[in-house]
Symmetry: C3
Subunit: 336 residues, 3 copies
């Protein structure tokens, strides 16, 4: 893709500073993942201090007065760049083609693919050899499905997402739903288009009615051999490493990263923007609200060493009794 | 609609007291929401004490011996009115028409509506202009969809529900499933037909595989600009105010009310029949079991001030140590 | 079905001991549920000590050196029998027939069945009289649906499962998804085919987007009159008794058993391989990690008497204050 920078300048009503020679960008990308021809944006101090650490040559910034001479074009906006997000992502959102028929003509279907009644395959999809698509599966425009993958009934794979080889997607799972991204514009919750993808590796299993959101900008990624149980929520821009086990009803919030070979047991919640290491086991019903180092067995909310958590839980039962004891102790001490 | 009161009397086998002049009712309604021509029922003391506070002219009551002369017709039942619910709601449940074709002839489709393969649109539906219906969406009988709304694949909107303008319904979401309403009849769980609707306002987003139950009697309501994440449960007769954010895997039980501009973070549970105020923020994994006033930041289970909850959580880790300390203190005091 | 034991011996590369006269088995079954002509396996001490307590005449075992002379054939494997599971269950997994048309010819449809557009009915299905199948329902091969059952849109019932009479399956529910069964083979999570079924009794209700996994070996069972709310997870080989109420977002892990007339409130998690008795009520957001006797009202995590749990929760709020008090007490005692 190729977008005219002048169109963007008109849309955002911004001033231009720095290197003015560029005319086109290839798209929008997160600060540290951007390529030379990407546009990115720097809203917080964290990014503004590191303007030479992004490869992007075009950066949206607030008015920072002094623009470093580092061969970059700065698009200077007056509002908080966050408020511009709906406009900005709307600009980069790919237009989709109209629905025409059950299996759109431009889709490429491999050899020995089994397509059941009620399956829809969108424009420009690529379906690998030996794929099985059960009834009422919907594969939206531009999706790639790797060879040997089995997709059970009523699954949705949304636009431009990618599922690897030899995956199993259980019934009702959703891959590529929009992430939960909103900002207040004039006080009202306003949608930020989610222009990234969900990218699922090889030999991945995704459970029944599990939801995997697409990335806001950049992708949500599930790596090879990771197995996800039923009714799990994987939010936008989560990175799940290889060979993980994510048990039923776990929720992983936006931009969290989970290392290889990690297991997260049922009903645990993982907060956004944190990192869980490799070879970690997190017990059921836990709450993860900070980074977790490699090779640990943890549980609880707050999260702690699993044996410690067991002790805390046993202790909790004694709490009403403990309150009484302390009252008695206080009384005795006062009596003296 | 118009129902003969005499048919109802035969069905319930009830006595009639008070004003006997009425012949028809328009339907069944909750006590305080009833209109003049509604039927309602008063089972508990709370309602029996306030018989003149409902607008309904016809009221089902247990045998209260003295019937106030307030221009109302009383249908006097011998059993607990709760046990009659399956019969009563069965009586008022609208019959649906048989499936005939993919897009039923009596449905009204606006201009520039995009209808993908596999979409079903039931009898008497009204689909607004510029609506997009992705593949394998099912719109049941009598549903209204406002203009500009986008409904992603494999979504179900059940009978007689309403979705406003410019909404986005992510894949697999369910709007208007039956609420979880059962009573024991001869010891067996027996279904109470759910005759209300789910009514979704304008500019609402509903996440992937989220479920919004229809009302038992009266409606489940989601007001304008409220955004709901994936895998959220909204039970029957919940009222969600305007401009709320309900994060993934939250569950809101029956008849709970949530005020405008309130945010409920992931995996929180809200008990039934309570009120959460406006501008409230409730942290992740909390349990809400009582009313919540406006303008608060709360978390935990039990729910408390968020800073207090953080302190409690830190303290929990010290609990096993605390038990030891208190044992030592007791010993020292005894030793003296 | 009939499987040649010699094929199995070749597949597993195992030695044979004990009674060598048998040639065929009917299938694979759990140790205590096996029939005379079943194959079963004994990996743990627990089973190896009780080899004469299974009815199965053919048993897969590790090399136990001394093979009791009890009229059984022993298939002796060198690896841990668990590692063999993917091979073993793959051997017994039934092959499914190719998709041919919307309603496959070999399916038997009862009288007065309502089949909406977009419904798929697989080979060899049996659909009872007066069943209603809403749009985009998928009934996979070999499924039986009892008379009078209503199945709402976008529901999936997977291969060989059984749903009883007069059930109601809300939209998007999944019955018979694969259980979450994996073993590490060369360090990689490797799927164990799930060859059991999900078997749903009569008068059962299953909520919107709820998932009921099929058994690994043997069946997942939901008995008569049990009602399950939305977004509930029922894992492989769970046995849910009669007349239970399972509220929204509950998760019940593999092989747990729940007795008759038991209620489990919202967002509770039940660990695997445990037994909950009859007439039990478990409060919302609880964690059940051990067996539960009959006739109890429990809640909390850890699970305890419900009144005790309420006291513990109230006490938790006082914990930061309590820590201070104990520090003060210690100080006072030291000062003396």
């Amino acid at each position: 893709m190729k977008y005219k920078i002048s169109d963007l300048i008109t849309l955002l009503g911004c001033e231009v500073k720095g290197d003015l020679s560029l005319e086109y960008i290839s798209g929008l990308a997160p600060f540290f993942q951007a390529k030379e021809d990407s546009l990115t944006f720097a809203s917080d101090e964290k990014f503004l201090k590191s303007l030479n650490e992004t490869k992007a040559k075009v950066i949206i910034v607030p008015d920072i007065k002094v623009f470093p001479n580092i061969g970059k074009m700065f698009l200077v906006v007056k509002e908080n760049p966050r408020t511009l997000m709906p406009k900005l992502l709307g600009f980069f959102k790919k237009k989709v083609k109209p629905f025409e028929k059950q299996i759109e003509d431009s889709s490429k279907i491999g050899k020995n693919v089994s397509i059941a009644p009620g399956v829809y395959i969108g424009h420009d999809c690529v379906i690998g050899d030996n794929v099985t698509l059960y009834p009422n599966v919907t594969i939206c425009e531009g999706v790639e499905i790797g060879e040997g993958t089995v997709i059970y009934p009523n699954v949705t794979v949304r636009e431009f997402c990618k599922v690897g080889k030899n995956c199993v997607i259980q019934p009702g799972a959703v891959i590529g739903s929009d992430g939960f991204g909103f900002v207040k514009v004039n006080g009202k919750n306003t949608k930020i288009d989610q222009i990234g993808r969900a990218v699922v590796g090889n030999n991945v299993e995704i459970g029944a009615n599990t939801t995997v959101d697409r990335g806001a900008i950049g992708d949500t990624v599930i790596e090879d051999y990771t197995k996800i149980d039923n009714l799990v929520q994987i939010a936008h821009n989560v990175i799940l490493g290889e060979n993980c086990l994510i048990v039923s009803q776990v929720g992983i919030a936006g931009s969290a990263e989970v290392g290889d070979n990690t297991t997260i047991a049922g009903q645990t919640g993982v907060a956004g923007h944190l990192k869980i290491g490799k070879n970690v086991v997190i017990g059921a019903k836990s709450g993860v609200s900070g980074d977790v180092a490699d090779n640990q067995l943890l549980s609880g909310y707050p999260l702690m060493d699993h044996r410690e958590d067991l002790k805390v839980r046993v202790s909790m039962k004694k709490l009403p009794e403990l309150l009484k004891k302390v009252r008695n102790l206080e009384k005795k001490l006062l009596d003296k």
